[in-house]
Amino acid sequence: MDVLYFAWVRERIGLPREKVDADVATVMDLVEVLRAREDRYDAAFSDLSALRVAVDQQLADFDAPLAGVREVAFFPPMTGG
């Protein structure tokens, strides 16, 4: 699936999007897979309360299932308006 990063999450991880092929059931599983990769991922995901997630472009929780999902995005709380 496509994994996207925005704002300081993008900066900390160092790229805006990547393809991730992993056998993960939930967003939280995906987070664990990413954190295990490298320090920059581990740092980006160190405080999940500072992060928001969207699954197929809809805001979701970290326990949201990923079956059939094409796109997951991680970002800080939004500051629109």
């Binding site: 704002a7 472009q57 809809q58 800080p76 939004m78 500051t79 308006g81």
Partner: protein, 146 residues
């Protein structure tokens, strides 16, 4: 309903005129316009990142919910992204309703949701560098009103 996500500027006067023109049912038209502010001084630019695709979806959902909750004749959301200078307009919303209470409440609802539920992230560029604007607890708290 019209939703626009764009990099270029918009013309508040022309948008307000077009939105208001020829309404005989709506007695009440409210607009809100957000401007890049430089309160402390020293702001060089505001950069606005967004999530193409999700942004349009989120704004449409927010506007649709507003039209479901209030008796609106119409509503409009314009939101820019990219690099903006202090004093430039970032975004606007407009609502048209028979009664002023509906128009005001719907415009405030749109703004509260735009602030915390639309995928935009602001970064302020000053002489000292760049800093992401932190979300404000009071913006999140504002959602509990609805």
């Amino acid at each position: 309903m019209r939703i626009a996500v764009q990099e270029g500027p918009f013309d508040l006067g022309a948008e307000a005129d077009a939105f208001a023109r020829g309404r005989c049912v709506s007695g009440a038209i409210v607009t809100f316009t957000g401007v890049v502010r430089d309160v402390a001084g020293g702001l060089k630019a505001m950069e606005i990142e967004h999530y193409p695709g999700m942004t349009e979806t989120a704004l449409t959902e927010i506007a649709t919910e507003a039209e479901r909750r209030w008796a609106l004749e119409d509503c409009l959301i314009i939101h820019r992204h990219g690099t903006l200078a202090p004093g430039e307009m970032i975004m606007m919303v407009a609502t048209a309703a028979l009664h002023r209470k509906d128009a005001f409440e719907a415009a405030e609802y749109l703004m509260d949701y735009l602030k915390s539920r639309a995928p935009f992230w602001k970064r302020e560029i000053t002489g000292d560098g760049a800093e992401w604007v932190a979300s404000r607890d009071e913006d999140e708290a504002a959602l509990t009103r609805w």
